[in-house]
């Protein structure tokens, strides 16, 4: 009887101790060598269970677990994956298939409720990973603020895969990945739109949106339906409106004479080097 009681106490004591001292864990609890922690990702990557742990191994400072020779361990810890936010390229938001500069700067905020494992976290470009710990020069990671800055050095035109893998000290992982384009050839303008279209200037300014394949001197021309130029704006390379990637330029629907354009069709041209590189048609309807 005494032996049985002792056995029960041996089993219960860790649980009591666990209950008394762990304040920072959260369910679920995983049992017996199951991988400790959770992993999650956003946007494109699948989930994976991370951090298989042998019995007796603990890697989190936030849980209290006891693993022992009894053949099982009961523990719980940080299961919240890191957060990757404010992902930008050269100060502009990123969406898959955007144009980027071959030497652009990728920035993001990478944080975690515990700590980021800088030896495990990395930036990966076309499969080549550089850990946060090895970032040098123009590239860096500030653990205190979570500010990540990574200077690209892409040499070839075409599609490129760029990923940020953030791993916390619990092994939780978050991955974001984008497919982006580099084109160092002649400047191109794609996805040229007027928003809204039809456009009513009396309801406020609209935006002219377009993608540029790289930084370059750019002008916006608007012609009326007899081919007469009514509006023109120019932007120097690298300025807003002339940057690689997505650009938006506000337009109030007025001509260069200061008059609100009449209900009619207008023809917009994105021009560089005296040649149109992008086109769209605008309907002004009040």
């Amino acid at each position: 009887m005494k032996k049985i009681t002792l056995m029960v106490l041996l089993f219960l004591l860790p649980a009591v101790a666990f209950a008394a001292s762990s304040t920072n864990y959260s369910s679920p609890m995983s049992i017996v060598g199951a991988g400790g922690g959770n992993s999650s990702s956003s946007n494109y990557s699948g989930t994976s269970a991370v951090g298989a742990s042998a019995v007796g191994k603990s890697v989190s400072a936030n849980y209290i677990g006891i693993s022992g020779g009894l053949g099982f361990s009961i523990y719980s810890g940080d299961t919240t994956p890191p957060v990757i936010s404010n992902t930008q390229m050269d100060g502009k938001s990123l969406v898959s298939h955007d144009y980027i500069k071959k030497d652009g700067t990728l920035t993001a905020t990478v944080t975690d409720e515990t700590a980021i494992d800088i030896a495990a976290s990395s930036v990966e470009v076309d499969g080549v990973a550089v850990t946060f710990a090895n970032l040098t020069g123009s590239s860096s990671y500030n653990a205190a603020t979570g500010a990540l800055s990574y200077k690209l050095n892409i040499t070839a035109d075409g599609d490129h895969s760029i990923s940020i893998r953030a791993v916390d000290t619990s092994g939780n992982t978050t991955i974001i990945s984008q497919s982006l384009k580099v084109d160092t050839g002649d400047l191109k303008a794609t996805s040229v739109y007027m928003y809204p279209n039809p456009f009513n200037p009396n309801h406020g300014a609209g935006v002219i949106a377009y993608q540029l394949s790289k930084d370059g001197d750019t002008s916006i021309y608007i012609f009326n339906m007899i081919g007469r130029l009514v509006y023109k704006r120019s932007f120097a390379s690298g300025q807003a409106g002339a940057q690689a990637g997505y650009n938006e330029v506000s337009w109030d629907g007025k001509s260069d004479f200061g008059e609100t354009l009449g209900n009619d069709i207008y023809f917009l041209r994105i021009v560089s080097g005296g040649k149109p590189i992008g086109r769209t048609k605008i309907a002004v309807i009040k």
Partner: protein, 367 residues
């Protein structure tokens, strides 16, 4: 009676000028474009888009209706062009005639473009096409009339109906009026003035908006030079723009043309456009071509084509005038030849002086 008629015409003329000037002065910032400001006729385009003063030109009557007063015969005309890299196409068809001293005509000008896209913002707040498209079309019908008021002055008017439409979105219709004058200073120089879209009626849209059609005041001249040269020049006042062109006819059936225009683009800047063209005319059938070089964006340069027909008036037979003589001398037939003794009147002479005969010695007798 004649003086009263003349005074009446002078009053009408003055009144017309006053109306034109008042309309010009009262013009507010208009916003809807008149499609006919594109230019009517490849000849006009080639000559710098000048057509205020082109007496008898079937296309010019739809810019300055006073030109209709000088139509010589009935005629038909057409024009085609494709603007903005083929995104906007225009076709014009017209006809004119003259009846009992009044010249008049009608034309239709239609244009269209397709593939306008509606837009939206996607989940990333990026602007993108929403998947719906619509088309645009416009049409203008003009009826112009002109009449000579006297041997120097002609006046005219033109009524225009406008229609603009975005399929599935909205459409608008409206009308307006053009007025024009021509003044023949002498056989070589003609002056003209036209006030376009003088009515405040505008275009009424299905959205409840009414927009005035852009008003314009134009002045022009047409000057004939020796050796079949012709110079045209126009000035637009609202906004200011200058047009000039020249035509040379090295042969009766061939015309060579060139022109330019300086058009403001706002922000104290302007653009210079250059034009050139040719014209062929055989037995009344005319073909005109113009090349338009867009100074604002070279790729927008384009072509205009006009096909027209106006039967040629029969030319009067040339009169061979006699040798110049300051006065007409009646020819008197010479009298028939008659033998008439001519009796010389005895000349009145003074009484002969007594002439002493010399004494004659008798001849001695012979023994």
């Amino acid at each position: 009676m004649k003086n009263m008629t003349s005074r009446l015409l002078d009053c009408m003329t003055a009144g017309l000028f006053i109306i034109i000037l008042i309309c010009g002065a009262a013009n507010a910032a208009s916003t809807s474009i008149d499609p006919m400001s594109l230019g009517i006729g490849a000849r006009s385009i080639a000559m710098g888009r000048t057509n205020v003063t082109a007496p008898g030109d079937i296309n010019a009557i739809f810019v300055n209706p006073a030109n209709a007063a000088y139509l010589e015969n009935w005629g038909a005309t057409s024009m085609y062009t494709s603007l903005l890299e083929g995104e906007m196409n225009y076709t014009m068809l017209g006809g004119a005639t003259k009846y009992q001293g009044i010249g008049g005509g009608m034309c239709y000008l239609g244009g269209g473009a397709t593939g306008l896209q509606t837009t939206t913002r996607d989940a990333n707040s990026r602007v993108t096409a929403s998947g719906n498209s619509f088309d645009y079309s416009n049409s203008t019908i003009a009826a112009a009339f002109g009449k000579e008021l006297n041997d120097k002055l002609a006046a005219g008017g033109s009524l225009k109906m406008f229609s603009k439409s975005f399929s599935g979105q909205s459409s608008g219709t409206g009308f307006s009026l053009d007025l024009g004058l021509l003044y023949k200073l002498n056989s070589a120089l003609t002056l003209g003035v036209a006030a376009q879209n003088v009515l405040p009626t505008g275009i009424n849209w299905g959205t409840g908006v009414n927009e005035p059609v852009a008003m314009n005041l134009k002045g022009g001249l047409n000057y004939s030079l020796p050796n079949n040269f012709l110079v045209n020049a126009d000035l637009d006042l609202m906004p200011f723009a200058a047009h000039a062109g020249v035509e040379w006819k090295p042969l009766p059936l061939l015309a060579l043309r060139g022109g330019l225009e300086n058009v403001p683009t706002g922000n104290s800047s302007s653009v210079m456009n250059l034009m050139a063209g040719i014209g062929l005319k055989i037995n009344g059938l005319g073909f005109d071509y113009a090349y338009f070089n867009d100074g604002s964006l070279a790729v927008n340069s384009t072509h205009f084509f006009t096909l027209s027909f106006m039967p040629e008036m029969p030319k009067p037979k040339p009169v061979v005038s006699p040798a110049p003589s300051p006065a007409v001398v009646p020819v008197i037939a010479p009298a028939p030849a008659v033998s008439v003794p001519v009796v010389k009147p005895k000349a009145k002479t003074a009484a002969p002086k007594a002439v002493k005969k010399p004494a004659v010695k008798p001849k001695p007798k012979k023994k």
